[in-house]
């Protein structure tokens, strides 16, 4: 498993956007991960807590939106969920196209900004 490398990429992307927005803190990170990716959410969260120490993302929460794998049959057009590798349940064709489940992106972040208008 390569969760550490994946988690580092998430931190790179998140930090870059946080800087652009002049964020003082990132509180939440929303990820969209298709079920065809082989990462384990708990492991990513574990590494995240570790590598975000002393960064703008420290103590932020990761939210995983998991997308089930879905396929569309090339032969009969039937759309079906792909829980395991199997032919089209309607016509038994082995030719289908995967239409969902490969998502692997940082969707958005919630940030806090502090305005510099100090009240004396």
């Amino acid at each position: 498993m390569h969760e550490l490398a994946v988690t580092e990429s998430i931190l790179n992307i998140t930090t870059r956007f946080a800087r652009q927005e002049n964020a003082t803190r990132v509180t939440d990170v929303y990820l969209v991960i298709g079920d065809l990716s082989s990462i384990i959410d708990d492991s990513v969260q574990f590494y995240w807590d570790f590598i975000t120490k002393d960064t703008v993302c420290e103590k932020s929460l990761l939210h995983f939106r998991r997308i089930p794998a879905r396929a569309k049959c090339n032969n009969c057009g039937h759309e079906f969920q792909l829980k395991e590798l199997m032919p089209c349940p309607q016509c038994d064709s082995a030719r289908f196209k995967i239409i969902e489940g490969e998502e692997f992106y940082v969707d958005s972040i919630k940030i806090t900004k502090e305005e510099t208008t100090h009240v004396q």
């Binding site: 994946v6 509180t27 032919p87 692997f104 992106y105």
Partner: protein, 242 residues
């Protein structure tokens, strides 16, 4: 979150849309690697397989078949600083760069670039990258190569496409190695091929044995054709002898 402050300064909470692929940085670097290879007229292949499928043996046979006509180099990905594989390649008179991934389970575009930096790309026709032995992690990690190859082997069993589907998607060719063991193993070729067909319709496949040499010629002929196409496309001036 704000109730611990006295609001001597204002907080704003924003929800910022990003929508960026987690692999984007790797993919950008892979595109850069691809450009370097194209510029030098080098055809690059990324070989992935489980440990023991016969990656190094197939690479050695490939070198034997092609090294009289093409300049070849190999990048070896290993999780530990052992040069066993690289030494075998070098013994064939072919330059090999070993990349120790420091325990990491796959090569990425960045490590590949470091390996490429150590080679005289302009002198080469074919770059073979031997990925870390692993059927899970190298999937979907682009290196910048022109063809992604998986080597499966008969003793691993016919159900690998069903158990490790991701590695078989997005590859260009599959080699089924150790066919000499077919008489001793209950390997249902139809079942294996149907799994591949579902994952990667029309995938190019070659059954071969690095031990007996059977089937190697068909694979190297395919590879040679790809090298030619690539060199033609990039109008390479050949400065070395064939």
């Amino acid at each position: 979150m704000c109730n611990s402050h006295d609001h001597s300064h204002d907080h704003t909470h924003d929800h910022v849309s990003i929508v960026e692929n987690i692999m984007s940085q790797n993919d950008q670097l892979a595109a850069h690697n691809r450009k370097l290879l194209d510029k030098a007229g080098v055809f690059g292949i990324n070989i992935m397989a489980s440990p023991g499928a016969g990656k190094t043996s197939v690479i050695l046979k490939t070198i034997e078949a092609l090294s009289d006509r093409y300049k070849i180099a190999v990048i070896e990905g290993d999780t530990a600083p052992v040069t066993i594989d690289a030494d075998k390649i070098i013994a064939k008179g072919v330059p090999a760069v070993q990349i120790n991934t420091g325990g990491n389970c796959h090569l990425d575009a960045h490590m590949t670039l470091h390996g490429m930096d150590e080679l005289e790309l302009d002198e080469l026709d074919l770059l073979i990258i031997e990925n870390v032995g692993n059927l899970v992690c190298p999937a979907g990690v682009a290196l910048g190569t022109h063809a992604n190859v998986v080597i499966a082997s008969v003793p691993e069993g016919d159900d690998k496409p069903y158990k490790y589907p991701n590695i078989y998607r997005g590859i260009d060719v599959i080699l089924l190695n150790k066919t000499d063991l077919m008489p001793y193993i209950d390997f249902k070729m139809d079942y294996f091929l149907q799994g591949l067909e579902m994952l990667n319709p029309g995938l190019e496949s070659f059954a071969l044995s690095a031990k007996s040499g059977e089937g190697i010629a068909a694979w190297t002929a395919w590879l040679e054709e790809r090298i030619h196409e690539h060199q033609h496309r990039h109008h390479r001036e050949h400065t070395h002898t064939h």
